[in-house]
Amino acid sequence: MKILIIEDEIALCESMSTYLITQDYSCDIATDFAAALNKTEYNDYDCILLDITLPGGNGLKILEHLKEDKKTDGILIISAKNSLDDKIEGLNLGADDYLSKPFHLSELNARIGAIIRRKNFEGNNLIEFKNLIIDTRSKVATVNKSPLELTKKEYELLLYFVANKKRLISKDAIAEHLWGNDIGGNFDFIYTHIKNLRKKLMDAGDADYIKSVYGMGYKFTDQ
């Protein structure tokens, strides 16, 4: 899976590529408008991460070029502007999703996964982890072929975990993923969700994959 990161902040580029490489993606980087245009023209990517404010031009122009060339690369807009106009314009121009800075790398990874799955209509909708299989089309998770009775948020949480498997996910990343940006506070309620999900997985005969990592967050791992 190939990803192009178009972002002028080198430090942020490094963070994103480091995280994404651990998730078995290969990453290409463009830090200005000209490089971005050049790379998108001669290569095909599974997903392009596009910052709107770039030295040398507006990121939305790249989006326009891609659509003119009828390219089917998935596009995730990343903007610090958090401006509604940019979001609406970007989505209207054919971007697949929009993420405003600052974001969690785990959230970025989950969004990229979702975009790629959506692009591959004929491809596999099944995400597997040991005995656990998640069908993202019917939104059903099964353990050893018996379906789990999950609530909506438990399903989303499980998908988020599996998408970021073996990575530590902070509590606030989980809270914002499930409940949106307006949620604040101490995120103690996350514990209840984790507890319920863990119980359902174990009742279905799966191992306890969800590990608590000090007070920081959780990791979905078989180790």
Partner: protein, 424 residues
């Protein structure tokens, strides 16, 4: 006080005083002139009598007409200075006092001394003075009325360019696109004012534009370093060989960064609402919006064993920006969950356009109105930013909706009415 009223408050008393003083002076001068005229007539009469006595050497006949009376009385004194005086005589027939002007002078006929008295009625003089005064007062009254009307009409006309400028300024809206267009005027002061108004509004608009750009840029500049810090913390926390102490440090860093970024986003949102940057209004179905958010947060409420009862009237709409409507509703519901007790209860109802959310919770330690102010929060909710209700209030203010928050019967009650006007 209106300028005209203030001006009149000085102008009218002074005008009246001057007119009164001048009519008083007028009266005295007129009176003096007429009496003087009367005295001249009496003097002529005296000369006639003296002439007659000289010619005939006999006392002339007395006469007693209404307007002129002549009589002679015997006098011991032969020679005295003739003198004028005014006297009031009661007229029995007309039953009123009449004033006369009389002249006494010595007269010697055949060696006998007499006092000759010539008396003329002053009535006509008085009448003339009265008539003249009446005319004067009528003129004063007429002048005042004319002055009053002229002030009204003329000043109204004179102030028209000013009032027009004022109207335009009142309707001037920075976020709106309407420019100020002022009527040309030939009055120098107003032309000067209009010139200044145009220069100022242009400057204000430009400043506002640059402030908007600055706000956007500031957010950009802050969000990017925050994004870098956040991503680096996340990467660092992935390291396999971190001990608990190091992890706790990372955890604190992460919490602070999250807080900072939420703070930045909330303040940015408040600034944007304040600057009325959410211009686009839609016909928002608040009924389905509220139901959507209840459903969205139901599982969150369940983690605290909070039950939600709802009574939402269908197909209710509000004219507002959809993003702001979502922020408003989600903030209120999140508040009701966050500041609730374990095993508590939330009641959400929408009757007409009135949304009422009441939830169980501990009594607030400060007056509920203060929670609408920025950064005011209960000591118990340490992790809260204290901006949720400020945002709710700001959104309501933006559309003229009224919002209400009170602690009644051990319940927090928040009400929002989705049409401009007050909650009664």
């Amino acid at each position: 006080m209106k300028l005209l009223a203030k001006y009149n408050r000085v102008n009218i008393p002074i005008t009246i005083a001057i007119l009164l003083f001048s009519s008083l002076g007028y009266y005295f001068i007129l009176h003096y002139v007429l009496v003087h005229q009367l005295d001249k007539d009496l003097e002529i009469e005296k000369q006639e009598i003296l002439h007659q006595v000289k010619e005939s050497n006999a006392l002339p006949e007395t006469s007693d007409y209404k307007d002129q009376q002549i009589k002679f009385t015997v006098s011991k004194v032969g020679n005295f200075k003739s003198n004028f005086q005014t006297e009031d005589v009661y007229n029995i027939i007309e039953k009123e006092g009449e004033s006369y002007r009389r002249l006494d002078f010595p007269l010697t006929v055949n060696g006998n001394n007499f006092v000759a008295t010539v008396r003329k009625s002053q009535q006509e003089t008085e009448d003339i003075v009265q008539l003249i005064l009446l005319i004067t007062f009528s003129v004063i009254a007429f002048l005042l009325v004319i002055l009053f009307i002229a002030n009204r009409v003329l000043l109204g006309k004179l102030w028209k360019p000013f009032n027009n400028t004022l109207d335009q300024l009142t309707q001037f809206n920075l976020s709106g696109k309407n420019r100020i267009e002022l009527e040309p005027t030939d009055i120098d002061e107003f032309a000067e004012l209009n010139k200044t108004v145009i220069i100022m509004t242009k400057k204000v608009s430009n400043d506002y534009e640059s402030l908007k750009t600055f706000t956007e840029n500031a957010s950009h500049e802050i969000q990017t370093p925050l994004a870098i810090i956040k991503s680096k913390i996340e990467l660092l926390s992935q390291s396999e060989n971190l001990d608990e102490v190091q992890m706790n440090i990372l955890q604190s860093l992460n919490e602070a960064t999250t807080r900072l970024s939420r703070l930045n986003q909330s303040l940015l949102l408040l600034t944007k609402i304040e600057n009325a940057q959410f211009v686009q209004t839609e016909h928002v179905n608040i009924s389905s919006l509220i139901l959507k958010y209840i459903e969205f947060f139901e599982e969150l409420a369940a983690t605290k064993n909070i039950t939600i009862t709802r009574n939402i009237e269908a197909e209710q709409f509000a004219e507002m920006n959809e993003t702001l409507a979502e922020t408003l509703v989600s903030n209120i519901i999140i508040n009701a969950i966050k500041h609730n007790i374990s095993g508590g209860h939330i009641e959400i109802s929408l009757e007409g356009k009135l949304l009422t959310v009441s939830n169980t919770g501990s009594e607030p330690k400060r007056p509920t109105l203060e929670f609408f102010e920025r950064f005011k929060k209960d000591a118990a909710s340490g992790d809260s930013l204290g901006l949720g209700l400020s945002i709710v209030k700001k959104i309501c203010e933006n559309y003229g909706f009224s919002v209400f928050y009170k602690y009644i019967d051990e319940k927090h009650v928040v009400m929002v009415r989705f049409i401009p006007g007050l909650i009664n």
